[in-house]
């Protein structure tokens, strides 16, 4: 008995044996599983080989290197570039603060973030830009430290939390005012990945409140309001976004008198916001239905008015319940901003297409497209991971 035990521990300790046992349990238990494993190994090796060969041998990344500006900023004027930095610092500081307050921080996270910082630094063309970005990183680290410091000071913590939430709400208006205002850059000149980011930001900043309003009016008992918002939601959701964008870009201008014509990009932004609003409305409606009826009755019994019940009792619970779906919608919006490439605007995708259509870079579609796809993937993947983390911290779905 005793002997067997010591033997067991000895086997446990040997890493090779452990690996062998693990492989037997997870990869080679039974004939079908072994066949599956062998097929997958072949597939995995093939994938890794093709990818590695492409990245390090086959691909010529010069086209991306030369056209960085086109892909990231499009036709955005160089001398107005400073306007992008303050909102970016704000995002980094708020990100650090939120991270510090929500999580202890793990080595794995730091490794990922570090890799991202190195990647971005490698991409910034000039030393000035590198230093400006480095400043943002320092700011983020300081904010993270501040967030950690408040862990055992609940009073400061609750105030800081308020500041963070208000900050997140202000960041999009701040960015747009700083970029457009004070003799800034008109939306027609926004371009590259910046255009995609701003489109998604405006879409969510307008679409979220609009969607909540639509959902609330759909849930009322007033027939006219209810019918109106239901019609808007269903008609908007009835067709694909690209059809709406084509209408806004090429059809509507024909029906609007010249005096009321707006910039095509502004029209398209309005369409994207409306479209997002309709989808958000349906998500929020689901959340509203999930709020227990007793909540409203209890609040009514306490003498709260309809407005107070809706804003302070129903909505917070409804939205909390649908945060995952809202994040999915944000990710969908982020990916949908690529549609602007086919409406004649220079977003990251069409900037990339312009890059590989240059005579000097004939046949380099794959490098450019893979790079642009990677940019979109990184943001979308990051968002989905963040939302999962957020859900765990808030305890959504855990009862």
């Amino acid at each position: 008995m005793n002997v067997a035990n010591t033997q067991d521990t000895r086997i446990e300790r040997s890493t090779i044996d452990l690996a062998r046992r693990w492989a037997r349990a997870n990869l080679f238990n039974g004939v079908p599983n072994t066949v599956l494993t062998l097929v997958s190994v072949t597939l995995a090796v093939y994938l890794i080989y093709t990818l590695a060969r492409f990245v390090f041998v086959g691909a010529d990344w010069e086209v991306v290197d030369v056209n960085r500006r086109l892909i990231f900023l499009g036709r955005y004027p160089k001398e107005e570039q400073w306007r992008i930095w303050p909102p970016m610092w704000m995002v980094m500081a708020l990100g650090g603060l939120s991270y510090g307050m929500l999580s202890r921080g793990s080595l794995r996270d730091f490794a990922w973030l570090g890799a991202a910082v190195v990647f971005i630094l490698a991409f910034l063309a000039t030393t000035t830009n590198g230093m400006l970005f480095g400043g943002g990183v320092v700011l983020a680290i300081a904010a993270y430290g501040l967030g950690r410091l408040t862990i055992d000071r609940p009073l400061v913590r609750s105030k800081l939390r308020m500041v963070t939430i208000v900050g997140w709400f202000l960041v999009i208006p701040f960015a747009i005012i700083l970029i457009t205002g004070f003799g800034g850059v008109k939306p027609a000149l926004w371009g590259g990945l910046l255009l995609n980011v701003l489109l998604a930001a405006i879409g969510i900043a307008v679409g979220l409140p609009l969607g909540i309003l639509l959902a609330l009016s759909r849930a009322t008992s007033l027939p006219v309001l209810k019918g109106f918002s239901t019609a808007i939601i269903e008609i908007t959701r009835g067709g694909p976004l690209i059809a709406w964008l084509f209408i806004a870009r090429f059809v509507l201008p024909a029906f609007i008198p010249d005096a009321f014509q707006t910039d095509p990009i502004v029209n398209s932004m309005i369409v994207v916001s409306l479209f997002t609003g309709a989808y958000v409305a349906e998500i929020v409606r689901g959340g509203l239905q999930a709020v227990d009826k007793g909540q409203v009755e209890a609040a009514d019994a306490l003498g709260l008015g309809t407005f107070n019940v809706t804003v302070f009792i129903v909505l917070p619970q409804a939205i909390r319940a649908v945060i995952p779906a809202l994040v999915s919608q944000m990710i969908a919006l982020w990916k949908d901003t690529t549609l602007f490439a086919f409406l004649g605007f220079t977003d990251a995708l069409s900037g990339g297409q312009a890059a590989y259509n240059q005579a000097a870079f004939k046949g380099s579609q794959i490098e450019v497209l893979v790079f642009v796809a990677l940019l979109f993937w990184a943001v979308a993947f990051g968002m989905s991971r963040l939302s999962q983390r957020f859900e765990r911290v808030l305890g959504i779905g855990v009862r």
């Binding site: 494993t37 029906f255 979109f376």
Partner: protein, 355 residues
Amino acid sequence: MVDKARDLDDLGFDFLSGSGDFPLSTQWLTNYESNDTLLGAYGAGIFNTVRLVVIGIVLATVLGVLAGIARLSSNWLVAKLATLYVETIRNTPLLIQIVIWYTVVFLQLPRVENAIEYSGLFYLSVKGLALPSLTIDGSFGIWVFFLVLGAVAAFALQWWLHRNEEQEGGSKHAVAWAFLVFTVVAVVTYFLTGTPLEPDTPHVVITGANIYNVKGGIQVEPEFAAVLLGLVIYTGAFIAEIVRGGIQALPKGQTEAAAALGLSGYQRLTLIILPQALRIIIPPLTNQFLNLTKNSSLAVVIGYPEIIFVGNTMINKIGHAAPVYLMIFGTYLLLSLVISLSMNFFNRSVQLAGR
């Protein structure tokens, strides 16, 4: 792009009986000619959208179910590969994926004279994929009649064996027997009616100096192939997540109880897990089908003539933007309704009865 005066004059649909005088790049089963009416052009557009959506839904469901099950596989490597697939594809814009499939894969294929081929069975070239097809002759109707008879007989046999199985226990291989009966009937009557199907294999023809074309069989255009591949792989990743969620929502006891009864892994999956998971899966699956339908519109960016492409061409040629877009939205509405209604019908048949 749009002539304002012409547009505001006429909001009716009379213009559809005129001709737009433009060609469409695909001809598969549509027979549209450039001097046909605009209604004919739009009809071809509807057909092109519908074939994309129908084939796309079937393939995406198959891929999604397989990938969803693979993500929960006890085989570590299989699960990781499926996760890699889902997380890469789901977080990349579909539009970029379609553009990649089209410009990086299908437009880089060899020219027709150097096509990748397999002994006349298929030709894969920059003009697309050509596959063999079958042409029908006079006695086809008689053969179909026998096929229907065979199918009825097979179903009857399966029902009878299945009832026996339930009463007496043990497996009577009902499905296998039914399949066998149907196959025998089909093969025997095929030769009795004098082989009513003629194979039509694709072949390369030279139509001019150094102009090569593939004729015969089914021609899958590169645009269609690129969009279909993009839609299937993208939607499949979302369906995989739905399937995984549906399976994980089941209590673990279901699998354990099935294992305790001695059911094999395949039986557990097909008889116990999937039928129950289906109840959770169908509503979000319907949503994905609707998304696929709307996403099929992205085909317009690589010039596949689906309804928005045809509509935009019509507007370019003769205006009438408002009625054209009304038609486009009507078509999407109709497609969505058909999908929703049939899925609701299907949903009702798998839900728990009573309660």
